[in-house]
Amino acid sequence: MPTTQLVVNGERKSITAEPRTPLLWVLREELGLTAAKYGCGIAQCGACTVHLDGAAVRSCVTPLSRAAGKQVTTLEGLPHGPLQAAWLAEQVPQCGYCQPGQIMSAACLLARTPAPTDAEIDDAMAGNVCRCGTYLRIRRAIHRAAGKETTAP
């Protein structure tokens, strides 16, 4: 069985698994990092979103081989800051299952677009599905994290 070297949340990891193993399996089953969720398994829902060298990827369809030599960041490794605080302030989660993926996509958006418009938020977040329908709160939380005043409707 081949071994793959990668860096997960700043720590070097050596993973012995088939190169086609989904990264999500490695994170959850091998490393015990359970923030990224299994939702659909075919990149249709976004619950498994993590960062690969800073870019959002759906870890359920990302083979371990793609992560070789790269930096993987999960919600556990995302530095605590305005984004998480905004999520709490806006009381975004209901059931919460999709929220780790939502936050990872939002973090990726804000890293590239520090003050996004509603349209930019919608474009960036459209691949993260929320069965509870928290989309408007997500949008408000992203604006809040970006430093924009928000008011509840």
Binding site: S105, R112, D123, A124, G127
Partner: protein, 192 residues
């Protein structure tokens, strides 16, 4: 002396092989291009060669789910890049994202959009370096032959219909069209 004569004979034979057996035949070239069109406008190609900002999906050409957009570089928007979901290779699971290296649309400034074009208009678009990414006919042939995302179209993974021709058949028909003078109509207007 004998060797020199045979070298000259070989050179003449090679020259003869390179020369077209017949003068360019626009009607035959056009028939070849119609086969090329059938591939270029198949779902596997046309889904990304679109005029709008959203790629298409499926054999019915529906808009890509999740509001996926072309983005500034043809590779998606921040946090929703093509490679957020599309990998370097197909996923075996039905309805999972297909994959090939450098999955992308044409960039917004060079859309290479063929959706809805009649064959003559598609032909003119395809040949125009201002609208085809600065390619001459040989570069277009190289794109068809060597670009991994083109090759993917002929092996699109489970649940996706490949084009009518195989990739070698497409290239053969393209070359036939090119060698016939790359006509954009069934007959050369200059003949009339």
């Amino acid at each position: 002396m004998t060797r020199t004569v045979s070298m000259i004979a070989a050179a003449l034979a090679a020259t003869a092989c390179r020369a077209p057996a017949h003068p360019p035949n626009p009607a035959r070239g056009w028939r070849a291009f119609e086969d090329v069109v059938a591939v270029l406008q198949s779902p596997r190609c046309i889904s990304c060669h679109v005029p709008g900002d959203a790629p298409l999906q499926g054999s019915d050409g529906h808009r890509h789910t999740m509001n996926v957009k072309r983005g500034a570089d043809g590779r998606g928007t921040p946090a929703l890049r093509c490679t957020t979901c599309h990998q370097d290779a197909n996923n075996d699971a039905l309805h999972a994202p297909p994959g090939a290296p450098d999955w992308r649309l044409p960039p917004p400034a060079m859309r290479m959009a063929w959706l809805g074009l009649a064959p003559t208009a598609l032909c003119e678009t395809l040949k125009d370096p201002a609208r085809n990414g600065g390619r001459d006919l040989s570069a277009l042939e190289a794109h068809l032959r060597d670009d991994a995302i083109v090759a993917w179209g002929f092996h699109p993974g489970p649940g996706r219909e490949p084009p009518r021709l195989t990739q070698p058949e497409l290239i053969a028909r393209f070359v036939e069209w090119k060698d016939a003078g790359a006509p954009c109509a069934a007959s050369n207007p200059d003949d009339h």
